[in-house]
Symmetry: C2
Subunit: 418 residues, 2 copies
């Protein structure tokens, strides 16, 4: 088969996906997988459980795209209509598949339940379709070739859809797309505004987009962290990887020392790896972030090897009693000040016997700001066996944004200091 550029549409079926509380997350999974093999997605649709609308949207999608993937609507109940709608649009009779029925019955028997009659519908297969086994549920997937077009029916629950797609659908689609692949790298940058990263990176990545192996670059911003996604598409993996290596090296050199990683590692993993390499452990004293720095560090499995713990000193009393911050320092400079941050870092380091002490104290708002120290003022100190550093930041945004930027800035100061 092997067509050069395939286009796909994704059709998520289910009225619940049109409300406020269930999002169609399958399409993101599918987008990632399809992009990886160079299949372009042109349209994504979410439709309610309405046979007529479903049929109309399906007909339209088949008129435009090479591949149509549906998710959901394969269950046993009356509002599960995808199988019937696809069969009707493709004008294929539905026939009961004895092996599918036996598999569904066996699944119920293992749970010592008699198969409800409703589940018999799930064994109906459009004539000529290939059945895709479902290791995690009763609804099998279906692969249907209709002329030049392919329709793939997948169940809605991600834990059923994802393994099924990877095991049985992806290899078939990859064969169709004739070996085209997309290779992708991520450069993570901390503590630089998006516009500055763009100003630095644009002169480097713009010419690469028209080279012999074109490189595509996208910049994504979250509070305190910027990601550059750099990708190439084609079938010559060696040339693509080579071009990507050069692009990443050039971009990283221009963005140093703000580059956190070029290999996909999140900031907290980079910090943990650096600490483990040194044989150091970290203790954290937090005021405005109130545990979120430690919460983030300990997201990493095995972080007990390099995290000792810490003190959340929300009240000033606690800064004195648990971190040994001198009362006169607090009185003279205020809790949000460089001397107090340094004393907190030194205090938590000494108290907990950690090699690295980190302190965060600031005003996350909405209250508590002043002209001299407005909301968003955050002081971060890091003390290691070699050096002590302290910085005052002014973060913009609301309370959660200020706290998130503080966490990122604290981890990045540890990264640079270790």
């Amino acid at each position: 088969m092997g067509r050069p550029v395939l286009t796909a549409e994704i059709l998520a079926v289910g009225s619940e996906l049109l409300g406020l509380h269930r999002l169609d997350t399958n399409s993101l999974f599918l987008t990632g997988r399809l992009n990886d093999i160079g299949i372009d997605i042109r349209v994504k649709t979410v439709v309610s459980d309405d046979a007529q609308i479903l049929g109309a949207v399906l007909t339209e999608a088949l008129g435009r795209a090479d591949v149509v993937i549906t998710t959901g609507g394969l269950g046993p109940t009356a509002d599960d209509l995808t199988r019937e709608a696809v069969a009707a649009v493709l004008n294929l009779p539905l026939e009961e598949d004895a092996r599918v029925l036996a598999a569904i019955q066996a699944r119920f028997e293992r749970r010592r339940i008699r198969m409800p009659e409703a589940n018999r519908r799930q064994a109906a297969v459009p004539r000529g379709a290939t059945v895709i086994a479902n290791s995690a549920g009763t609804a099998p997937g279906l692969w249907i070739e209709a002329g030049e077009k392919v329709v793939v029916l997948l169940p809605g629950p991600p834990r059923e859809l994802e393994p099924m797609f990877d095991a049985s659908v992806w290899p078939r689609l990859q064969a169709l797309s004739a070996g085209r692949r997309v290779r992708r790298r991520v450069i993570r940058v901390a503590g630089r505004p998006e516009s500055l990263v763009e100003d630095i990176a644009h002169p480097i990545y713009a010419p690469l987009s028209t080279g012999s192996t074109p490189i595509e670059t996208t910049i994504l911003a979250s509070p305190g962290l910027i990601e550059l996604h750099v990708s190439a598409r084609g079938s010559d993996i060696v040339a693509m990887d080579d071009a990507l290596d050069r692009a990443v090296a050039a971009l990283a050199a221009a963005l140093e020392p703000a580059v956190v990683s070029v290999d996909g590692r999140p900031l907290e993993v980079v910090v943990g790896d650096a600490l483990r390499e040194r044989g150091w452990r970290v203790g954290v004293a937090e005021s405005c972030t109130a545990g979120l720095v430690l919460g983030r560090l300990t997201e990493v499995p095995g972080s007990s090897g390099w995290v000792v713990g810490g003190v959340v000193a929300y009240a000033n009393d606690v800064k004195r009693s648990e971190l040994d911050v001198p009362a006169d320092l607090l009185a003279a400079h205020g809790a949000v000040s460089e001397p107090v941050a340094q004393a907190m870092a030194a205090g938590v380091r000494a108290r907990l016997g950690a090699e690295v002490g980190v302190a965060v104290t600031g005003i996350a708002g909405p209250g508590g700001g002043s002209d001299a120290k407005p909301v968003g003022t955050v002081v971060i100190a890091v003390t290691t066996p070699h050096a002590a550093t302290v910085r005052t930041f002014l973060f913009l945004g609301d309370r959660p944004m200020i706290r998130t930027q503080s966490v990122v800035a604290a981890l990045d100061m540890v990264r640079r200091g270790v």
Copy 2:
């Protein structure tokens, strides 16, 4: 105009919305607003910047729905095609609107920039359309009535779309939908599995769905917390509110004492309100959650009034030195045990001078489990001036899920204990 039940489709335009990194969040905003006035959404579509596909999808949508709302594609660049596509589908000529052009030029003049010629396109208006002012950007919105149908064009950036929608589109749609409204309540329940909540709630809410004022109930689960969304739709607000009051009272009575709130307050706010009412302050000793309990409590603005702080005792040394947990207790029972949790709660309470002490110690995995204490074993203790309670939980799921359930369970024990 006043039709009884209006249907709508949302069409998000933009190739970037079909990738992995930008989601169409506008449709959630629009869904909430449309549901509030009883407008049903049947289909949501995301389309790439392709005039042909956009035209085809728009034609289909207009064939099905009363109202079609497009978002995005109103910018000044060549791939902004929504205006032209809508005008073509509706067969309306585009005419330059002098007032729109003047407003765009004025916007640039305020920034002392000459309007780029490209922006002139944004002043093109399909004949007969109503222009909707954009207070936050250059692209105006458009309201177009075509026979019985309404097409609304909105810009893509949420900070432009949202105020524009609320000021100018919502009132017009509300008039169309003839005063129909949806009223909604939320019951939050902690520490009960979804299936148990369903078993208890179903006999109560099922009959209500067919009463004289039908009540619709949806159950949503997140780790450790279940939400029941109870809603009524119609135009008799008094009858709807009365029916909702009775439904919420009946459901809450059946689900006590697991009900966190029936007024929309999140768990951490309920805990804070209870502490403030008592005049108590809380200190937290965390091991496996490593700061996340305090991080969650301090999401609440003003939480410094009832949070003292805490100790993150990730290493056992810290449990001894900073929380005064006796070494023999640790040796005899292990760090994840009821005696140690109780000693941690008492220790943090005494050290920090808090009225309420909370301790969380457990095994979040993936490593560290044993036959006796498998991954997911979490012990939580709460000590108040009146009582000391301790409970051992076994949470299922991965590391983040176990930690989230631990946070919710700890907050819920404080809620019940204060």
